[in-house]
Point group: C2
Chain length 346, copies 2
Amino acid sequence: MPVGTKGTVKGLTPGDLREVGVGIVLGNTYHLYLRPGSDLIEEAGGLHHFMGWDGPILTDSGGYQVFSLAQTRRISEEGVEFASVYDGSPHMFTPELTTRVQEDLGSDVAMVLDECPPANASREYHEHSLRRTARWAGRSKEAHGRRDQALFGILQGGLYPDLREESLARTVEIGFDGYAVGGLSVGESREEMLKTLALTASKLPAGKPRYFMGIGDPVGILQVIALGVDMFDCVLPTRLARHGAALTPEGRLNLKNSRYRRDFGPLDPGCSCEACTGYSRAYLAHLVRENELLGHRLVTLHNVRFTVDLCRLARCEIRAGRFEAWSRGWISRYEGSDHAGADELE
Amino acid sequence: MPVGTKGTVKGLTPGDLREVGVGIVLGNTYHLYLRPGSDLIEEAGGLHHFMGWDGPILTDSGGYQVFSLAQTRRISEEGVEFASVYDGSPHMFTPELTTRVQEDLGSDVAMVLDECPPANASREYHEHSLRRTARWAGRSKEAHGRRDQALFGILQGGLYPDLREESLARTVEIGFDGYAVGGLSVGESREEMLKTLALTASKLPAGKPRYFMGIGDPVGILQVIALGVDMFDCVLPTRLARHGAALTPEGRLNLKNSRYRRDFGPLDPGCSCEACTGYSRAYLAHLVRENELLGHRLVTLHNVRFTVDLCRLARCEIRAGRFEAWSRGWISRYEGSDHAGADELE
């Protein structure tokens, strides 16, 4: 799911998203609640209508932004108080409110309010927090009324296997349309993340979508797919694009690298997106160096296309029963290229 | 001519430009010479190929940027020395060099190097300068070799009728494929500008294109068309868009004005561009307030479409012999709206 933080995947129209094969986009409840306001979006006929996107939308609960952006916040059993990142004004998110806001936005999938503690929080904190998150999940479900909107629960528990199990049991007991693994990709190592995910994913109910929150690098996507994850989101492909980094099967290319100044070949010869078929690396490199809007737009289009195509390929290989071998080969090609190191962004 | 300063009309693809009916774009020799370099663009197969635009391109000579941007410059008979706006590196433009650079860029219309003095320069300065500009024009023509590229002369002379006549006579004597009126819209009043233009335009050779450099507001466009001008360029429509101001027949709308926050109607009901048919004023206002790339892109698309459509309408009315009456009515509607004042950008 490309991230459309404020009701737009930065630089792309809904038509662009459809053209590159995007099936679902993510909207940020925190931002939309504050700007332009979920009441305004409801008045506009909902987020789909407001932003002109008729495909599915998943909205997060806003909790992640409260915990990662807010300068001041106070958590209680009732909910979480925070100061707006825009103007410092005081607000409070409760499970009931964020459910209501997402109903107003009219997304196809809503998320329960959860607390996402940092990876290095104490075991005691994680234990206390996951239980409150489970109570909040119950209240979110209780408050949820829209029949045309799915509601997903979120698992927490840090890197503690028994706490992860407890979180899973409590959340599954409430019963949701899908389950998200939260609280990972928040500072721990990739190995710890995968170990914890493996443990959790294997015990999730069969037949319900599994959503890993916050992964978007190509290798990470394949690693979580291997563990049974169905959905994921991350700003990485779009944010990298705005910094001039393009995702290709040969690794990540930093278009600001001088080697592309006179490279008149296509960005990714195997890609049929507008950026790869209409322009040269040299032109894209020029746009990126000059911080031109068109550079942001074209590289974003490519990175989203690349990521969507990777997932499409993964689905084919899963169906054909070849995923593991294919994925191993793909990762080794991606990581083995001389671009992988040389072209990392500073 | 929308302005594609650095080889891109900010935010738009060549496909977008074609879709809104753009027939010709302007490229800035000063910027392209410095970044990415005209040698690199020549290597890419010329500016058309580099930027993916197969329609006509006019390049300016770079003189205007030298005189308006450069911190330090020294003018001599030979040419003008200046420091790059990018890195302060020293450069010199001569009539021969800027002709050669434009030949490398491969534009369809090239311009001679001229000096554009400020409106308040002395009569003596203007007299001296226009004569040097005429000598430079002769050298530009002498140096020009591409048969597939037109070369236009540029008239100067400030607001002095006799100097304008002298500049015209000297330039027409050399003989060019078209003539540009330069040195206006540089600080004088609109009345002085139109008076001087009227005097000059009436004496230009029939049958050669007449290009007024640097006008782009709707009323100004109609005013210079009324005086016989065929071509003009300005960053105004695209720059306004990036500041959130949209051009409509009812005047200029500042989308940051709170009146548009809950305005769910189209930006301009009479316009069939993507911005007007796919989104509401409220959504565009939200994007503009949040400084979203998509807002810049959509409003730019609309403003370019609006300006191109205005010129198309003007051509129809000229052919039908109704231009003057139509233009008067159009201007009074545009200026009479309550938007005209209230929605000006601060």
